[in-house]
């Protein structure tokens, strides 16, 4: 009887999870999606806990849940610029949970119920722990890089035979896994199991070391997918279809996001994971002296004021400078003058999928003015002013023709097609990736040097001061 009720509750939770994601297709219904997700989760937790024939100890459950709430609540209050780190950290927790449950089940059955270690289940356990533990350390590394923790190198770290080492480690882990599936109870089995855990943990670290900031959106999506798949594997181990469905939903979400990110950078999965960006420095630095044309904020404000259509192109620099609120003020000032203002959002702008949208929404920019790259590009020739705020690679025209450039073939926002381009840039040095941006030297481009927040703030002051005079 209780078993039927549990299964019924799981069925209900599965349906609610699907609905929850379905409602995310429109910002208007999206919050309903969250409520459905919460309802599903509560149903699943209560149904699992209320099985007196299985759950006999309650103390630790209460303590662990209380601790989880205690840590989870502050983690949900982080500033929105820290959302990529938080996301990476939660992938790490997801991976850890899967890895630990897999470990617990294996040792439990090894000592008490060896008949349970069928080849099928053993394969599922191996997949669960490899994915779980590699996601754990990999996501921790990614979170560390995003948080810019000092002892984790920001730049891609490459060394000779890197790919051979990485793939070799994974191959040894998989090889040991196969051996365990064939002999799950051999005398050496427990040691082999621990070795797999160690290899998976190490592989996760090594996988992320060569990855640079620009690839983070893709990497976070891939780790998202792994975290989901490790939950699926847990479902196979525990014979639990709710885990399988919910994990598969997460896994497919990560997969789709990774595909979108890879397309937006014109790179393949393998290229992102194994083709470190580190080669960049060698290619460029053919330093013929090109010169920037600086412009003052007064001049720029006058041009902005006269425009009909202004397109603002935000990038990671806007997030770093925390300039989104000033950008919103600029948006308001221009709107007041009857200027049409749109934002051009490149899919990989920022450090995770959709990063710019969240920051601008926080600053109260209506989402109806946030336009995807593919939709806004046809309008760019009609655009009077393109204002580039902290974007770099995503507007570099070299992506169209410069075959030697690491970003060759990547779709870009056609900022260079606007009648006038203003680009805000912190210093005159080439950007983080070490690639010169052709856009900055184009005939129609004028540079505004300074911190993005300060420059945009100056523009706002010029515009509001000007209106006060009349």
């Amino acid at each position: 009887m209780i078993q039927a009720l549990t299964q019924l509750a799981y069925l209900l939770a599965t349906g609610l999870f699907v609905l929850s994601l379905h409602w995310m297709n429109d910002p208007k219904t999206a919050r309903r999606g969250v409520h459905a997700g919460v309802a599903a989760m509560l149903t699943a937790v209560i149904a699992t806990w209320a099985q007196p024939h299985i759950i006999v100890h309650h103390g630790w459950i209460v303590v662990a849940i209380a601790a989880g709430i205690g840590v989870g609540w502050p983690l949900s209050r982080v500033p929105l610029t820290a959302v990529p780190q938080r996301t990476a950290l939660s992938h790490a927790f997801g991976g850890l949970a899967a890895g630990l449950v897999g470990t617990a089940e294996y040792f439990l059955w090894l000592h008490e119920a060896q008949a349970n270690l069928t080849p099928f289940r053993m394969s599922a356990i191996i997949i669960e722990i490899i994915l779980g533990y590699l996601t754990f350390t990999g996501s921790l590394m990614a979170a560390g890089k995003l948080q810019e923790i000092r002892w984790i190198p920001q730049r891609p770290v490459t060394y000779p035979l890197q790919n051979v080492t990485n793939i070799g480690m994974l191959a040894i882990a998989v090889g040991l896994g196969v051996a365990l599936v064939l002999n799950p109870t051999a005398p050496w089995a427990a040691n082999a199991f621990m070795a797999i855990i160690g290899l998976a943990l190490g592989f996760g670290v090594l996988l992320i070391i060569p990855i640079g900031g620009a690839d983070m959106p893709t990497v976070i999506s891939i780790l998202n997918s792994y975290a989901g798949l490790s939950a699926v594997a847990m479902g196979f181990v525990l014979d639990n279809k709710l885990l399988i469905t919910a994990g598969a939903l997460d896994g497919s979400s990560g997969l789709i996001l990774s595909i979108i990110m890879c397309r937006a950078m014109n790179r393949s999965f393998t290229n992102v994971l194994f083709g470190a960006f580190g080669k960049v420095e060698a290619v460029k630095k053919t330093g013929e002296q090109k010169s920037y044309k600086p412009e003052t904020t007064e001049g720029a404000a006058q041009v902005l004021e006269q425009a009909n259509l202004v397109v603002i192109v935000p990038g990671y620099g806007m997030a770093v400078a925390q300039a989104q609120h000033k950008v919103r003020e600029l948006y308001d000032q221009l709107k007041k003058r009857g200027v049409t203002v749109k934002f051009a959002i490149h899919p990989v702008a920022g450090r995770m999928p959709g990063h710019m949208n969240v920051l601008l929404a926080e600053a109260d920019v209506p989402y109806t003015d946030l336009v995807e790259m593919d939709e806004i590009n046809p309008d760019m020739p009609q655009c009077d002013v393109a204002l580039v705020v902290g974007a770099n690679d995503t507007v570099n025209p070299a992506a169209r023709y410069e075959k030697s450039s690491p970003i060759y073939g990547m779709p870009i926002v056609d900022a260079d097609k606007a009648r006038t381009v203003f680009a805000i840039k912190r210093s005159k040095n080439p950007g983080f990736a070490g690639i010169d941006n052709e856009l900055y030297f184009a005939d129609r481009t004028w540079m505004l040097f300074g911190d993005a927040k300060a420059v945009v703030g100056d523009l706002v002051k010029q515009l509001s001061g000007g209106s006060g005079m009349h």
């Binding site: 994601l21 429109d26 630790w60 849940i65 014979d239 469905t245 929404a361």
Partner: protein
Amino acid sequence: MHEAPPALDFWSMLFVFMLATFIGVGVIRRVSRLLHTPLMSLTNAISAIAVVGSIIVTGSDHPWHIRMLGAIALFASVTNIVSGFLITDRMLKMFKSDGGRR
């Protein structure tokens, strides 16, 4: 000792997995690109359904070191559930259409 039954219906599990993946792909494809960040934190919270497995391991009549692993896993999952749903809702509250602005 209540262990899972030794004979598993793994074929039906594989069917469930395959169908759920197709449903997932179909549903996620239509998610607005605006919402990709909240989508990721939401699916994050959903995949913390690993909480189910963690509760079973923590609460069953197992040796204490096994249950300890379960308790850590449970802590990690609950952290994801709480922070994932709360931050998703916090972000979604910020998305306003033009008409919805003060």
